[in-house]
């Protein structure tokens, strides 16, 4: 295997982006930040891969329009996934492993606010028995939350503790769209929304974009003193049906963690768009109590569709670059109720 590191990361998160859902306007300055961090120009990038969805944009071929932000004279080596940035990064990592390229810039974008997000996401469900009922994301997460509460695996207080810590930590994140510590008691005193979920248990609808830069071997060492070397990268998927899996567990998350080797992780950025899902992930990933979870504030403080998983990897990489941690983890999820999970571990070895 080739040694590949995360060497660049840029993000934007906002409550409501008033521009085109192709998001070219957001991507141009993001790429500029990546060039600034790496000292590269676009011609140093061997492979490009983006993550987005036309269902979110409400138009066809939004990802083709987004390529404008790269500038493609001469032509570039480019691909796209209808998945989160983390999976675009996975494709780029494979591309680098093949030896065809040494560097990659992956990006993702999404204007969640263009439609009714929780309804739009019904398009990712099984089309015969689920989509005709338009089960919204919040309801599906609520079924999972109650399953855990009823089984005694977690309770409302544990969920509120996740929210309390996240929104407190988010105060130090300039990109967070929801922030502000209160107290567990105050959170629990707020009204139910989608019983058993309160609004703060659900990630805010967030527009945004993000970019990650990968480089192999010496190309990475040229960019940073402490590249975030990818020591493990794995993703797994569970059945889509809500009825045939134990919603309090996430076997795919456990499998991805086993594949990525999470031993010794000091910081874990978990893509849990609902408070109880962090509790599921901590268990499945086998994270010790002293692991710092989501110091960025995590997705409960901002969850731009198609970027938020990759942002977890970017935030975890920054902890390596700064020397704050020797081994970190970024996690991304996709599908209803933690159906699909990706784990990326990174180390700060020289």
């Amino acid at each position: 295997m080739r040694d590949v590191a995360v060497v660049g990361f840029a993000q934007r998160q906002m409550e409501e982006f008033d521009g085109s859902p192709t998001c070219v306007e957001m991507l141009v300055p993001l790429f500029a930040e990546c060039y600034e961090q790496t000292g590269w120009t676009r011609k140093d990038v061997g492979f490009w891969c983006s993550g987005s969805s036309d269902y979110l944009a409400g138009r066809s071929f939004s990802f083709v329009q987004a390529v404008d932000a790269i500038g493609v004279t001469p032509p570039v080596n480019e691909s796209h996934v209808e998945m989160d940035l983390a999976w675009a990064m996975y494709e780029a990592w494979i591309k680098i492993q093949t030896g065809e390229v040494d560097t990659a810039l992956v990006y993702a974008f999404g204007k969640s606010s263009a439609g009714v997000l929780r309804r739009t996401l019904a398009m990712q469900l099984e089309p015969y028995t689920m989509t005709p009922l338009w089960p919204d994301t919040v309801s599906l997460a609520g079924l999972q939350a109650r399953a855990g509460i009823d089984a005694g695996v977690w309770d409302e207080t544990a969920m509120a503790e996740v929210v309390h810590r996240s929104l407190g930590d988010a105060e130090r994140n300039e990109y967070a769209v929801r922030k502000g510590a209160s107290s567990v008691e105050e959170l629990l005193a707020r009204p139910m929304y989608a019983d058993p979920l309160r609004k703060h248990d659900c990630a805010p609808v967030t527009d945004g974009a993000a970019a990650i830069v990968l480089a192999a071997g010496d190309r990475a060492r040229d960019v940073r003193d402490k590249p975030a070397w990818i020591s493990g990268l794995a993703h797994n998927v569970d059945p889509m049906s809500m009825g045939t899996r134990d919603l309090t567990r996430s076997p795919s998350a456990a499998a991805a963690a086993a594949g990525a080797d999470v031993d010794g992780v000091e910081v874990a950025e978990l893509h849990a768009p609902f408070s109880h899902q962090e509790l599921v992930l901590r268990r499945e990933l086998g994270l010790a109590d002293d692991v710092a979870i989501n110091p960025s504030g995590g997705p409960l403080s901002g969850n731009p569709m198609f970027s938020a998983g990759g942002i977890r990897i970017g935030e975890a990489a920054r902890k390596i670059w700064s020397g704050e941690a020797a081994k970190t983890l970024g996690h991304a999820t996709s599908g209803p109720a933690l159906q699909q999970n990706l784990v990326c571990t990174m180390e700060g070895r020289a």
């Binding site: 192709t22 141009v28 409400g58 404008d68 309804r119 015969y128 689920m130 009823d150």
Partner: protein
């Protein structure tokens, strides 16, 4: 003034899907008023039936009729239903394990408030009046009434053919915003102007302007007002009718390279027989009456021949 223009848009499509034998059996059952599950290799009865066995990966064949009565195993309140959901007033989504099944199915429970819901509560199917072989043939579950057990629904369709396909209408509503550059273009049109922008790197003029030059990846910023006359660079005679067509074929769609622009843009060529349109033909914009103008490309009704001599190929060969 808002930074950008925006407008509502609805994207709709009816997805037509074949069911295959397993989901077809399930949906045929719903049409006929029975819920059909399947026994897997491990002996569990799953509803709806999985197409393939999760262990052996063999196609499901062992179908089992289960009860229309069952038990809620989890639920979530829906305070603000979205379009297309089983009920348009607050309700619960629930996982319901029907008697005779081992795993729950997802559907709605029709009750007035979250306080009427509890895990473990008994519910029964409320069938839709008109059943077509779709998940929505179950209108919703309702709390079980011991005095009125889930009556077997009248089955008047026994002679009907098995369900082999479903049509799932999908309609999504958006507020579609234009980029700042596109907004400048449309606002210009509302004033009778055609506005492009120049790339600071390659100096090419784009119309409509884009958020970045696709060659250089740099935002276009310098505004350039363009002539209303231009040259047909290439064109297509439309002979095929299609849904939503506004003009009777044959007619001509053409790329028009406005004088001063580097990118041609698509518009109609009228006022000339379709078979006389040609590359290099000089055309001019024909605007609708000013009182009909909005922030739309439709302010320009079409392009019409100027009658001037055709442009030399050399003048547009780099813009094809």
């Amino acid at each position: 003034m808002a930074r950008t223009l925006s407008a509502p848009v609805t994207v709709a499509f009816d997805y037509t899907r074949s069911t295959g034998p397993v989901l077809g059996r399930f949906l045929t059952g719903l049409r006929d008023g029975v819920v059909v599950g399947a026994r897997t290799s491990s002996g569990t009865v799953v509803v709806p039936p999985p197409e393939y066995d999760p262990v052996t990966h063999q196609q499901t064949t062992d179908f089992v009729e289960v009860s229309p009565v069952g038990t809620v195993t989890s639920w979530s309140w829906v305070p603000e239903p979205v379009k297309g959901q089983p009920l348009d007033r607050p309700f619960a989504f629930a996982l319901v394990t029907l008697d005779g099944a081992d795993t729950p199915m997802l559907h709605a429970v029709d009750v007035a408030s979250a306080t009427d819901m509890s895990t473990g509560m008994r519910v029964q199917v409320r069938w839709a009046a008109d059943r077509v072989g779709a998940m929505t043939d179950i209108e919703a579950f309702v709390p079980l009434r011991e005095d009125a057990p889930a009556a077997p629904s009248p089955v008047g369709t026994e002679q009907a053919a098995p369900i082999t396909g479903v049509v799932t209408p999908v309609s999504l509503d958006y507020t579609y915003a234009a980029s700042p550059e596109e907004s400048a273009f449309y606002r210009g049109l509302a004033e009778g102007r055609i506005v492009g922008q120049r790339c600071p790197a390659c100096h090419k003029v784009y119309v409509p302007p884009r958020s970045a030059c696709p060659s250089d990846g740099q935002p276009t910023s310098e505004e350039v007002e363009l002539s209303h006359e231009g040259t047909v660079t290439t064109f297509c005679v439309v002979n095929v009718p299609f849904m939503g067509q506004k003009i009777t074929p044959p007619y001509v769609s053409a790329y028009v390279l406005l004088d001063g622009a580097d990118i041609a843009f698509l518009h109609l060529i009228l006022d000339i027989p379709a078979d006389e349109v040609r590359m290099g033909m000089r055309v001019k914009a024909v605007w609708k009456p000013e009182d009909e103008w909005g922030t739309t490309i439709e302010n320009i009704s079409h392009f019409s021949p100027t009658g001037d001599p055709d442009a030399d190929y050399e003048t547009y060969k780099n813009h094809l």
